[in-house]
Symmetry: C2
Subunit: 217 residues, 2 copies
DNA sequence: GAGTGGTTACGTGAATCACGTAATAATAAC
DNA sequence: GTTATTATTACGTGATTCACGTAACCACTC
């Protein structure tokens, strides 16, 4: 028997979820709640295995709620149901301690599966979330490939050398000594770099160098 | 009917996979291959819906093989089976065009499920991969939390404000006008910032601001 | 009431910025 | 073979910024 708590802002939705979930004999709804301020108290009194949290938006306020709920009952497994699949936000729910997430395309089977997974101590990820994560990762992988096109290919080897040293916090004077050239030459190189790349000032130049992996943060 | 191609370095493994997969009446093994150099030719002659690629290691050589296979047959759905779950490498297979991935803990049911998913035009992710991705993301999320400790907590709100504007490439004069203060005050704030954080010069200040997410690259 | 830290502001000399010009050499284009 | 372009070198100049002081005023703490 798996004990469930259900939260939703709307009472009708709670009833719908309750009846749907009660169709599975393993599930028992031990409490419901439609007032976020009462949720913590209810959770204290009626320990459930799993809390189904229907959130219309995943705000910072809701994230804090999740953290508080887990302080009240560290064993509670929280399953968030939300249409808001903004990647940053969704992933932050996991950071807050949510164990499962169902998006707007989830089916009843997925919901049941998620409940079982959480009860067995596993997290539950639906494909939407995985896609989000994967796309995120792929797009991050793509970024270094786009190095060609940022403008670095316009710079000569010498110019990159000066940019690298300067980006490593060497002063113009130090660079001049290192390369056995005049400090004025160092300045000229930097000027040419800024002209070529159409950079307003040296702050932009640091950013450019970081963007092109010429220097590290 | 789903046509399968099977690749493995070991013939025994190919036979094992063949017999296992043939147990499902929907599946038909149309070709097998245990020589990577022949794989491209075989794929040309015997078009399969899905190619099951058993890879012991996911090397750059194997990644190139995947890319070449997809050039030969852009419609081929490649399902990689490998124990090598090094996150970077695994994710690069997806970048190379792999549609499904099964790790060392995968079951036969998952394999069948993966084949059906791929045939239906969907990707297949098993939980291992999702965990890899999620842990990756969470650990990346954790980094900004380490802001406390980098030194930003030493700065006052005003100092952060000046640092932010300056990091957005505004000149001292522009910042002074924006904040209705003297340009000398702006300079003083920057001096105090560098003193507090023990930064050698402004290049370091840009890096610091980026490190603390005060500005973007 | 003395101490601490934040915000404001100025003085000063050195360094850097931002924008020129310009010589030399190498390479590409005509 | 002359011309054009670009890289590298270097200087001039005025404005700006850096880096380091000092210092007044306020708020808060002990």
């Amino acid at each position: 028997m798996i004990d469930l708590g259900i939260y939703d802002e709307h009472n009708l939705a709670i009833q719908a979820f309750s009846s749907m979930l009660s169709a599975i004999s393993d599930f028992r709804v031990v409490f419901t709640c439609n007032d976020r301020n009462l949720l913590i108290t209810k959770l204290k009194n009626k320990r459930a295995h799993i809390l189904i949290l229907n959130l219309h938006d995943i705000s910072v306020r809701n994230l804090n709620l999740i953290v508080q709920l887990r302080i009240v009952d560290p064993n509670i497994k929280i399953l968030v149901v939300s249409a808001n699949q903004d990647e940053e936000i969704v992933l932050k729910t996991f950071k807050a301690g949510v164990k499962g997430f169902l998006g707007k395309d989830a089916t009843f089977n997925e919901l049941a599966e998620a409940v079982y997974s959480l009860r067995n101590g596993h997290d539950y990820f639906n494909n939407t979330l995985t896609h989000i994560l994967l796309n995120r990762y792929i797009s991050r992988l793509d970024q270094p490939d786009q190095e060609t096109g940022t403008g670095i290919e316009l710079l000569s080897a010498r110019q990159i050398e000066i940019l690298r040293l300067w980006g490593e916090s060497y002063s113009n004077q130090e660079i001049a000594e290192k390369l056995f050239i005049s400090i004025r030459t160092v300045e000229t190189h930097k000027n040419h770099i800024m002209q070529k790349l159409n950079l307003k000032n040296t702050v932009d130049m640091v950013k450019f160098a970081i963007k092109c992996n010429i220097i590290d943060v």
